[in-house]
Symmetry: C2
Subunit: 457 residues, 2 copies
């Protein structure tokens, strides 16, 4: 080997540069930076412990807006700003109570009002229970059997699904539509089995959607353990009654914000690559996995690029969307503004499946874009990102960008533990693993970098 | 569509049969059985909570032998038996204590004697500290600076490694060889930074190996948080001293057992496919991930095949190896017996990397075997088993089968969380996820089934 090539080889080795693929070398640096000096874990700690639950319209949601704005300002991004958006403001009020009565003995159960539910009357409601698994059963039973009763939707999430989001998709209409469907037949309240495959003590809330033409009846999620007990009790004695008292209310819409930070593109400043998660969370916990993880990872993407001195060709924008959980107003407003302002969004990437160990990315784009992404497969493989493309959603907040021709990407972490915590009181910082969270941030940064450098054509 | 083909289509749909690939259909049934009716999680609960820590030679190790034998008997496997093996018997004794002294103030630190360590003298030892990162530094410092001191090995596991086992491999010589290397220069004791990338309060034990020609000196693992504090204190005041008192002893070797269950092959009863994990664990916790998970998954493989009525062509054997942690006597004895008895081991699969979400299998076999395994890639992909073949160890216990021509496979779960718990007091049942554990058992059963049906040629 000649002296010069030896020197080159030594330099390459020292810089950990893969000479045959400079992209690969930068991606390695991205991983090194985040795994060794990343801020995403400590930022998530702050969000969870110093702010906590942050449902749209709440004082905490405003605190989260203020803090993330100032956080991105301290990182010195080219521009940090707020985007106004009106959001629904639902409030749980005093914690709900519920029990069922067997032989006049009360058995308390763990419930949580579904987001958006109306309250019960002041003294609560009590009625007989009709257990069903689906809407067809409601139809079969009809008004004669349902009127005046509380309907108990008890179809479990399918534990046989390999990816838990598929099981969620197949069960969640009980939560989102159950109250409306049951009310059509005269039900006065609804109990929904929590959306998790675990059998535990946590009610998992989540939004419901009322049909404006149907009477709005109160609805709660019940912990799976209690759902099982209630179901057993009903088998022995179908005539038992259920009591629930909900104190929630819907307040006037509130002004809130998407929080946006960006680094200007050096070649194509008017072409934007957006990466984001949603800043709001349910009120029962810290929203650590849903979606504190995704928001802090999205901030980490910009921080890392800046920290490594990467000058992106395109404008890279971190967007912390407000109100994914019960309205999607942030995502809708962002796309609306993008359209009005004639912004060109090359790509949008969302992280809203938790901060678990990365598996890859789902892609919602043209075949040509998918092929382009797959051309980086050897780089992704080196970081155990094996699942590129294929099915699965990409993210609710970025969905409204699709009509603008934006290629959509969902960061896909392993899904096995997500519904252990989803929308429940145990979605706390302690249930996030530092390495997994950081690897997710690194995977997202890598994808943003590769798209920025190589485009999608 | 004709009536008959319609009927066939309906039947296929009902049975979830992929007509084009009957193997794929059975693999689906394997997953369904384990995810829906699996016993692996409740069996692991029993092992962890009703037996607990089970270091070789201990009364608990014997309880684990007795219980797993009776468990496999209740499942009605064709044959369940014990294989005698003499094992080392090391005992921690009264919990060790340690502190360092700054300006005569004691700062207690969390330590655990390394497995196999000698005790200190009765009143403990106290001496100055030499902090090093590697063995070269010992050589540079030499006897002049090391003699009479306690050597503190403080090289962290590399957090930048994507797969944590690589970081472990690169750091663990401090634990396994540190005491011998330090003793060569006259050190009187050794402190080793715990093998984890986390900064926490848990000392992580593990075995050390003394060179018989070098003085045996006592050695402890120190929690990473305390290692950092000690290192900081040394920077301010290099003259501080360290005290440690270890009460461990090595007792006479003890008779113990590998626990074996098998289903006889219908076509090739003399060709064996072995699947296993190790039954012993360190004494500090329940050995839930290491390796309760692997043993209970291995039992689940046989239970599932039997439960589904699969009649394997080859003999399928579950082996719960004794003494992986501090001697490997079970693995060695198993291979020795196999050789003596002229047993033909087609394949051996070990699960000893935790019960985390499955990523795939490492393979240590001929290229032809690797190609054969890769021919099932489309089946594996359907269950998110993307990492087939490639580097990484397969398992210590099955290693001794390699000279017999056995193809070796390591079940490869995601590695990110493994060293959070490895050999430490937090390796408890609560840190195992039910779905992840079950998916691992299903992946292993699938591999065993595919090898059994298709062979490896």
């Amino acid at each position: 080997m000649k002296k010069r090539s030896l020197l080159f080889a030594i330099i390459c080795f020292a810089l950990n540069v893969n000479a045959s693929n400079p992209d690969s070398a930068v991606v390695s640096k991205i991983y090194d930076e985040i795994l060794e000096k990343g801020k995403v874990y400590e930022n998530l700690h702050y969000l969870c412990k110093n702010i906590g639950p942050r449902l749209s319209g709440s004082a905490n949601a405003q605190k989260a807006v203020d803090w993330t704005k100032s956080l991105m300002e301290t990182y010195g991004f080219d521009r940090v700003y707020l985007q106004e958006v009106m959001v629904p403001h639902w409030d749980r009020g005093v914690k709900e109570t519920a029990y069922f009565k067997v032989n006049n003995k009360k058995q308390t159960v763990a419930v949580a009002a579904l987001g958006g539910s109306v309250a019960t009357i002041e003294k609560g409601i009590e009625a007989g229970i009709i257990e069903v698994y689906n809407f067809d059963q409601l139809k079969e039973l009809g008004e004669a059997k349902i009127k005046g009763k509380i309907v108990f939707f008890n179809r479990p999430m399918n534990s046989k699904a390999i990816r838990t989001f598929n099981a969620y998709r197949d069960a969640v209409n009980q939560r989102s539509q159950g109250a409306t469907e049951a009310a059509k037949y005269g039900a006065i309240g609804v109990i929904v089995r929590s959306m998790t495959t675990r059998v535990d003590e946590f009610p998992h809330t989540g939004s419901l959607h009322y049909d404006e033409n149907v009477l709005k009846i109160p609805a709660v999620a019940i912990a799976t353990k209690d759902a099982n007990q209630l179901s057993e009790a009903l088998k022995l004695q179908p005539s038992i009654t259920f009591f629930m008292k909900l104190n929630c209310k819907t307040l006037p819409e509130t002004l809130s914000y998407n929080v946006i930070g960006e680094i200007k593109g050096s070649e194509f400043p008017n072409q934007i690559i957006t990466v984001g998660g949603h800043l709001d969370s349910w009120d029962l916990a810290e929203g650590a996995q849903d979606d504190g993880a995704g928001t802090m990872q999205s901030v980490e993407v910009l921080r890392t690029l800046k920290s490594l001195g990467v000058k992106p060709k395109h404008t890279i924008r971190t967007v912390l969307f407000m109100n994914e959980e019960n309205g999607l107003r942030g995502g809708l407003k962002y796309a609306e503004n993008a359209k009005q302002n004639g912004e060109q969004h090359l790509a949008a990437i969302e992280s809203d499946s938790g901060g678990f160990t990365p598996r890859g990315f789902s892609v919602d784009a043209s075949t040509a874009v998918v092929d382009k992404i797959l051309s980086w497969k050897s780089i992704f493989d080196g970081f155990d990102l094996n699942e590129i493309g294929g099915g699965g959603g990409t993210g609710s907040d970025i969905g409204p960008l699709k009509p603008l021709g934006t290629a959509l990407f969902g960061f896909r972490p392993d899904s096995q533990r997500y519904f252990d915590f989803h929308h429940a009181a145990n979605d706390v910082f302690e249930n996030v693993n530092e390495r997994e969270l950081k690897l997710g941030a690194a995977a997202m940064t890598a994808l943003v970098y590769l798209i920025d450098q190589n485009g999608l054509n």
